[in-house]
Subunit: 106 residues, 2 copies
DNA sequence: AATAAATATTGACATGTATCGATGAATGTT
DNA sequence: AACATTCATCGATACATGTCAATATTTATT
């Protein structure tokens, strides 16, 4: 299972409407937290939580300037996500469907 | 927010290691529930739960034959998922980053 | 009809996490 | 030095859901 946990974690992070809204906003380019907060109906602490999650997952990058923090989407994450999805869902060589039993610690 | 809920739901469903393992197994082709169960260390009821979730989301399709149920990945879901991701994370026209405020009921 | 096998459903429980208000920390301004 | 602004952290709460055992349902077999 361990094999799938990293991928699952990424998908789980994308599995929240608020975070998708934030990523949609960032898709055009850099925004500071206050810009994002202005367009959402969530508390500042909730936004801060989401930005931390997105950052730690490597989905967004942060740049601090004085009291502001500016966020951008990590461009590398886009092909990464596509590849992660394809590696699981598309036919491939040495696939687990060929027979091995999966234990919880694998 | 409603705008992102469908996409978030799909990602959330992909956000479980067990379901990714199941999809990985199905990536080569059709398997029945008992085949999948044989290679995982989860209970039968848990597997049944996951298959129902994957089915209702349109990610896998089910075919019943006597007492067996055979599952396949819905091939349409693959490009769909890529498009959903790109529609959010890549730059685009008429993007919400251009200014509108998002209410919870949107 | 009785039994067996494959899958679904139900109810209970534990865990994870989104959310908030309150507060703290860092930086800039007066 | 005092204050304001921006963001982070903490503690509490509510809700969603993964998991299981037990049971039901469906179909085939004897």
């Amino acid at each position: 299972m361990q094999k799938y946990e990293a991928a699952a974690k990424l998908f789980r992070i994308l599995g929240e409407p608020m975070r998708l809204a934030i990523l949609d906003m960032l898709s055009c380019g850099e925004l500071c937290a206050c810009d994002i907060l202005e367009r959402l109906t969530i508390s500042q602490s909730t936004l801060s939580h989401h930005m931390r999650v997105l950052q730690q997952a490597g989905i967004v990058m942060a740049r601090k300037d004085a009291t502001w923090v500016y966020y951008t989407i990590n461009p590398k994450i886009v092909p990464d996500l596509h590849n992660i999805l394809d590696d699981i869902i598309l036919p491939k060589k040495n696939c687990i469907c060929e027979g091995v039993k999966l234990e919880d610690n694998k």
